[in-house]
Structures are given as structure tokens and as C-alpha cells.
């Protein structure tokens, strides 16, 4: 029974070995000629003016998270769309309820001020 999994185990082994090997090979083979300019953070060619570890507005995170939530939920529309004809009215109603539920969420974040930027 277990022997069926042997290729997978083999595969895991190769992956792990490669990952470890790559780390070492990189360090061993790569040329190292460090200079201050090379150590600068890359900011599209602009010389950085301050530390990269500055604080960001929390609104970035909130907006990003909200985007991802609604973005992910919308994925459900795609499989639904492929069989909506067969589902007929039932499918339309179901998806209506689904979207309405999302709408409540949207209304909620809106009213709570999560979308405001200041």
C-alpha cells in the first residue's frame, strides 16, 4: 500500500536536497565584491533618503486586506458562471444571496470608516 507513495517521497527528497544544495552552492560559487552602493536598497534608481524601516499608515494593510477578501470572494463567480444556465433561477437567487452577503460586508466596512484614508 505504502509503496505507491515512494515516488512522492523520492520527489520530496530531491527537492529538499536541491534546496539545501542551492544555498551552499550560491555561497560557494558566487563572486563577492561588496561596495556601499551595492548594499543600498533598490528604489528604482532613486537614492534612498532615510531608513526603509519607517512606519506605514495602517490604512495600507486594511485596504489591502479588504481588497483581497472581496477579490477572493469574486472567484466564486467563475465556476458559477460556467453552469449558471443549468442552475436556472435557483442559481441566480443563490448568487444573489451570496452577493448580498458580500454587500453587507462592504456596507459594514464603509460605515465603520475602514475605507477612509485619514
Amino acid at each position: 500500500m505504502l509503496s505507491g507513495y515512494a515516488p512522492i517521497l523520492f520527489f520530496f527528497g530531491i527537492c529538499a536536497a536541491f534546496a539545501v544544495l542551492a544555498q551552499f552552492l550560491n555561497a560557494a560559487l558566487g563572486p563577492k565584491r561588496p561596495s556601499p552602493t551595492k548594499d543600498l536598497p533598490y528604489e528604482s534608481g532613486i537614492v534612498p533618503r532615510e531608513s526603509a524601516r519607517r512606519r506605514f499608515s495602517v490604512s495600507f494593510y486594511v485596504t489591502a486586506m479588504l481588497f483581497i477578501i472581496f477579490d477572493v470572494e469574486s472567484i466564486f463567480l467563475f465556476p458559477w458562471a460556467t453552469i449558471v444556465r443549468e442552475l436556472k433561477v435557483f442559481g441566480i437567487v443563490e448568487m444573489g444571496i451570496f452577493i448580498a452577503t458580500l454587500l453587507v460586508g462592504l456596507l459594514y466596512v464603509w460605515r465603520k470608516g475602514a475605507l477612509r484614508w485619514d
Binding site: 442552475l87 435557483f90 453587507v104 459594514y108
Partner: protein
């Protein structure tokens, strides 16, 4: 034992499916409505939300009662992924009553602690919804989704006291460890799926019964055990309990009240459905392969929970450990659930014990935590042992009902807790698992120590010159909850036929 072993054909859901999840639909609707109401109701009127939440719970409860009579016999809906049966409805009823009681004690408490936000009630409803789904889930996928739904709501609720570090810490611990445990749960599910090729419980059961070889597939067994470990985390059974004391103590007390009871109830319902009734393996006696592990975890929980509770000095923490121990006692019922009698029939005595114990634990534990919740002072929880000293002299009724709850938790007759223990121990003895019952009895004796210690503290005079705790007024809703839980604890103790009959009926209707 197993009904509906033939695969359910995949069909488009229809009206009958909707009826099958009617209680959940009503509660879900109430949840959405509550979210919207929170947006329009001014902050000073937040207590109204508690009223609306209670209405929603009451409506759902009404539908559940109706469904109890409708679901006879029960059926599987949504292509076999959800059971519309009396078993789920019985558990739903326990969950809804618990949620209702918690909602009743919440507004005063939240106001005093200064954390009265509208989301609270919506989250309670969402968690309850998840639990109800878990109680009826007959597909690994639905089980997982339900657990995630209830867990996410509880993560937020544990951190509800936003300005208190302890609460934040509790939420973070619960979230991280909960996610961790979900990993085990999911891995177990993946292995089971991999070995049986199914996610619906009925088909998994058929696949297990179909195994004619004498040796059991180790990966399947590993999957079953990992699934159990995932559940063991949810019911806070040792040694997967380490989050429990910290989270119970850190979370706002009303939330602790809620999750200490309802999570266990829902998770145990799923445990019974999945383990006792799906993994029993019918004629192949598959249960023999996981039963010792469940028994082992049960014993560990009883020992660890009771012994650790001995030296606690905070009531919340003591009750957390007591909850771990209680999980152990209930697990006895799961471990001895599918007993093959010499007559060839299967005895469901242990499972009835589980259901009875859950009902008893729900009323008792809500009562005990409600006392702490109701009496909490402004801005902080007063849950140290010293704070309880002398309670009987100022609040005779509250102290008397607290004493009753402690008696019940300790398993003294004639309270609810006694018969919970009585039934599971009897089941263990009937099943020939006498050592399991002996462990239970021995650890119960240990538990009497710390329960009675708290009970005695309340009846001592406050120490001379000690600072008097400023207990809050009990209030109308608090009194109502205490009266209800006290009555429940007594009724389950002296009229056991009432719930026993319902539990038996619900078990008869259980389908997989």
C-alpha cells in the same frame, strides 16, 4: 448501525435542502441583520442589539423545535454533506440556549468593562452558526469550514477587550495555536480522503467497512488520529490543552462563558458523528484501532485537568482546568460509544452519556462563569479566590447558586453533573472498560478538593481588614440567567428522564 451507506448522487440543491438547513438559515439571516443594525443604532443604544440578538436566537430556537418534529426520520441534504436529523437539532438546542444565556449577561458586563461594541453580538451569532453547522456536518469539508467559521469568530471575541494586553495575548495565542491545530485536522482529512477517496462520511464509512483485509491501512489510521487530535484541541483535551487556561483567563469573561461551553458541545457532537458513528467500522470493528487512543487522551485530560486545577488561585483559570477535566470525562463516553453487546447489538449508552453530560455541563458551567461575569467590577474581572471570600454573607443567593454549580461540576448528587458522570461511568463499566471508570472516579475525588475549596471560601467571613471587593449588582438579566441555570442544574439532577428521553430520541434519529 450505519444508514445511507450508498453514495448520494450529486444533484442540484432544492427546496428540501433549504429546509434541511432552515435553523442555520434563520440564524445566518439574523447575523446579517445584526451587522446592518449595528450600523444604524447609536452607540448609546447598543443594549438593543442584545435584544435583537436574543430575538434571532429565539426565532432560531423556535425553528429548531419545529424541525425536531419535522426531521423524523431525518435525511441528508446537499448531496450528503449535511444531516438534517434530531441529533444535530438536539445539539443545536443546547447551543442556542447557551448562546441566549450568554447574550443576556453580556450588555451589563461589556458596559462595565467599556468594551460594548456592536460586533460582539454578530460575532456570537456567527460562532453559534458555525457550531450548528458543525453539529450537522456529514462531510469533511463542511466540518472544516464550520470549525473555521466558529474559530474565526472566537479569535476576534477573545481579543475583544482591545485595550487590555491580556485579552490581546489570549486572542493571538488562540489564533496561532488554532491555526496550528487546523493544520493537523486538515492533514488528517487529507489522509482520510487519500485512503478512502471520499469526503462524505457515509461513503467513508462504506469504504472502511469494505476493507476486508485484516491489517488496517496505517495512513488511514494516521489520518483518523490526526483528525482526532484536531478535535482534541477544540475540546481542550490534554495534552492538546495548553492554550486553554491562558485564553480562558485572558478573554473577556462573557466570551469565556460562551466558548468554554459551546465549543465543547459542538466539537463533541462532531466527534460522536465522525468517530462513534462513522469510524466504528461496522463488522470490521475498526473502532478498536482508535479507541485506546481516545481512552488515553481521556485519562490524560482527567488527570492533568484536575491536578493542575488544585493549585490555581483564579476562578477563571480553575474553571479552565476543570473544563479540561470535564472534556476527559465526556471523552469516556466517546471512547466506549460503539459497544458491541454480547447479543450482537450495538449499545449507544456511552453516546447518550455524552449528550447528557454536554447538556449538564452547559447549564452548570454557564452558571458558574455567569457568576464571575455578573459580579465583575468596573474595568477588571474580579476572579481571584480572595475576591470570592465572604460572598455568601453579602450575596446569599448568588453564593448558593455558585455552590450548586460547583457541586454539579464536582459531580455530587442530586445535581446535573452527577448524572453526567454517572452515565458515562456506567457506560464504561457496561463496555468492560472498568479501568476507565476507575480513573474517572479517582480523579473526581481529587476534583472535589478544589471545587469545595472555592465553595467554602464563599461561606467564610471576609478576612479582618481585608479590602472589600466591590461586587456589582446582579441586575435583572443576571438574576434571570442565574435562576435559569440553577433551575437547569437541579432539574437535570432530579428529573433526568426529561433530557435523557430527548437524548435517546435524538440518538435514534442520528444519520451519517
Amino acid at each position: 448501525m450505519l444508514i445511507a451507506a450508498s453514495p448520494v448522487p450529486l444533484t442540484f440543491p432544492g427546496g428540501r435542502d433549504l429546509i434541511g438547513i432552515l435553523p442555520e438559515l434563520v440564524l445566518g439571516g439574523a447575523f446579517l441583520l445584526l451587522m446592518l443594525l449595528d450600523l444604524v443604532i447609536p452607540a448609546s443604544r447598543r443594549s438593543w442589539l442584545a435584544g435583537f440578538a436574543l430575538l434571532g436566537i429565539a426565532a432560531t430556537f423556535g425553528v429548531t423545535i419545529w424541525a425536531w418534529f419535522d426531521a423524523n426520520p431525518g435525511r441528508l441534504v446537499y448531496s450528503g454533506s449535511f444531516a438534517y436529523d434530531r441529533f444535530a437539532l438536539f445539539v443545536d438546542a443546547i447551543l442556542l440556549v447557551s448562546a441566549g444565556l450568554v447574550v443576556m449577561i453580556s450588555p451589563n458586563y461589556l458596559n462595565r468593562r467599556g468594551i460594548h461594541y456592536g460586533e460582539y453580538y454578530a460575532l456570537i451569532l456567527a460562532a453559534t452558526l458555525g457550531m450548528m453547522l458543525l453539529a450537522g456536518a456529514t462531510s469533511l469539508m463542511v466540518i472544516f469550514l464550520a470549525i473555521e467559521l466558529l474559530s474565526l469568530a472566537l479569535y476576534v471575541l477573545s481579543g475583544f477587550s482591545r485595550h487590555e494586553e491580556r485579552s490581546q495575548e489570549a486572542a493571538l495565542k488562540y489564533l496561532l495555536l488554532g491555526g496550528f491545530a487546523s493544520g493537523f485536522l486538515l492533514f488528517g482529512m487529507a489522509l482520510i480522503y487519500g485512503e478512502t477517496g471520499h469526503t462524505q462520511l457515509a461513503q467513508i464509512a462504506a469504504a472502511i467497512q469494505g476493507q476486508t483485509t485484516l491489517t488496517v491501512d496505517p495512513l488511514l489510521l494516521a489520518g483518523v488520529l490526526l483528525l482526532f487530535i484536531g478535535f482534541a484541541f477544540k475540546i481542550s483535551a490534554a495534552p492538546f490543552h495548553s492554550w486553554t487556561p491562558d485564553v480562558y483567563q485572558g478573554a473577556p469573561t462573557s466570551v469565556t462563558t460562551f466558548m468554554s461551553v459551546t465549543t465543547k458541545v459542538a466539537a463533541f457532537a462532531a466527534l460522536v458523528r465522525v468517530f462513534t458513528y462513522t469510524f466504528d467500522g461496522g463488522g470490521t470493528h475498526f473502532y478498536q484501532h482508535w479507541e485506546p487512543v481516545v481512552a488515553l487522551v481521556a485519562i490524560t485530560s482527567m488527570v492533568v485537568g484536575n491536578i493542575a486545577a488544585l493549585t490555581q488561585t483564579s476562578v477563571k483559570r480553575m474553571l479552565a482546568y476543570s473544563g479540561i477535566a470535564q472534556a476527559g470525562y465526556i471523552l469516556i463516553g466517546v471512547a466506549v460509544g460503539p459497544v458491541l453487546l454480547p447479543s450482537g447489538q450495538t449499545s449507544s449508552f456511552g453516546t447518550i452519556g455524552v449528550l447528557y453530560y454536554l447538556a449538564a455541563y452547559a447549564v452548570t458551567n454557564i452558571g458558574a462563569f455567569a457568576v464571575i461575569t455578573i459580579m465583575a467590577g468596573r474595568g477588571e474581572d474580579l476572579d481571584s479566590y480572595d475576591g470570592l471570600r465572604g460572598l455568601a454573607h453579602r450575596r446569599p443567593f448568588v453564593a448558593a447558586s455558585m455552590a450548586l454549580f460547583l457541586f454539579s461540576l464536582g459531580g455530587f448528587p442530586p445535581t446535573a453533573g452527577f448524572f453526567g458522570k454517572f452515565l458515562v461511568f456506567t457506560a464504561a463499566i457496561n463496555a468492560g472498560q472498568v479501568p476507565l471508570a476507575l480513573w474517572g472516579i479517582a480523579t473526581s475525588a481529587v476534583s472535589a478538593f478544589y471545587y469545595l475549596r472555592v465553595g467554602l471560601l464563599m461561606y467564610q467571613r471576609p478576612a479582618e481588614g481585608a479590602e472589600e471587593y466591590r461586587w456589582s449588582r446582579t441586575g435583572f438579566s443576571g438574576s434571570a440567567v442565574l435562576v435559569a441555570t440553577t433551575a437547569g442544574t437541579l432539574i437535570l439532577g432530579v428529573m433526568i428522564v426529561l433530557v435523557y428521553t430527548a437524548a435517546t430520541a435524538s440518538l435514534k434519529g442520528l444519520i451519517v
